[in-house]
Symmetry: C2
Subunit: 165 residues, 2 copies
């Protein structure tokens, strides 16, 4: 099997229509559509989404968002990191390594990554080399954060003042 190719997705009407096939379609996608319609963003602008095509059909995607070091409450030392969300492979295209390919792509930036392991996906994240954080109710608010640590980076031990946002 060929290694699936990960592409940065451009915001245009075709991409936004394909997004509607994914379960995690919400205000973020609607907002991009409105911005495009109102000419607030240009056609083919870069989006925070990356995806895998099968032929010309988008079959897997994730969003990667750069978080500034000053908001970091997960890593030691505090630093810029990536927040990964909306990782999803369409049902007919699962078990082909597309999810893995997207996560490996995210890791290739060499920055720490934080994600929210949804719906008992913990096993998958462990296999990807992520680990669960020590849950903190104030910071994590019901999320199940899993983090990936590049060499030299540790999980941050939360102190009182970290919870003061």
């Amino acid at each position: 099997m060929d290694k699936p190719e990960v592409k940065r997705l451009l915001i245009n009407y075709k991409t936004l229509e394909e997004f509607q096939k994914f379960k995690e379609y919400g205000l973020e996608e609607l907002s991009m559509l409105e911005d495009l319609q109102a000419n607030i963003i240009e056609d083919d602008s870069n989006s925070p989404f990356y995806g895998i095509y099968y032929g010309d059909k988008l079959v897997a995607r994730m969003s990667l968002y750069q978080i500034n070091a000053k908001y970091d409450r997960y890593f030691d030392p505090p630093q810029d990191y990536l927040e990964l969300w909306k990782l999803e492979v369409l049902p007919d295209y699962r078990h082909r390594g597309y999810g893995t390919a997207l996560v490996e792509y995210a890791k290739s930036f060499g920055q720490p990554i934080k994600t929210n392991a949804r719906q008992q996906s913990g096993e998958f994240w462990l296999k990807m080399g992520f680990k669960p954080v020590k849950y903190n109710p104030v910071r994590d608010r019901g999320e199940s954060p899993y983090i990936w640590l590049p060499e030299g980076v540790k999980e941050r031990e939360l102190k009182e003042e970290d919870l003061e946002l």
Copy 2:
């Protein structure tokens, strides 16, 4: 049909075992279990969860978390509000108004509520009297926030400094 009774859930081994039947079981629940095993919290402590029992079986739940006014970036004037998450009804018990009963219960506190509308549940939240916020990528980070406004409360218009957390 009787009006379903909403109960505040107590943290004990029975509750935590019942939580495992819900899809959104994650680090929050595991952390409660560890705290109970290590005697960090007492048996039958209050939890942030509310639920509905059918007989002695927990069939629906939600978590309600009080957020301090100083972290509020959704409401005008800024104030204490409730964050609602993990609203879920077990598959065999859907379409009986249990989800609605939980949301109505949350509204009965009279505080504004913020939730993240997951997996195209927007219709449900609209029916519950919630409305989508104007999406902001820095604040909302891929979420689909829907809010409920009690009388006299408005949606906050975000300014630059609101995004500086």
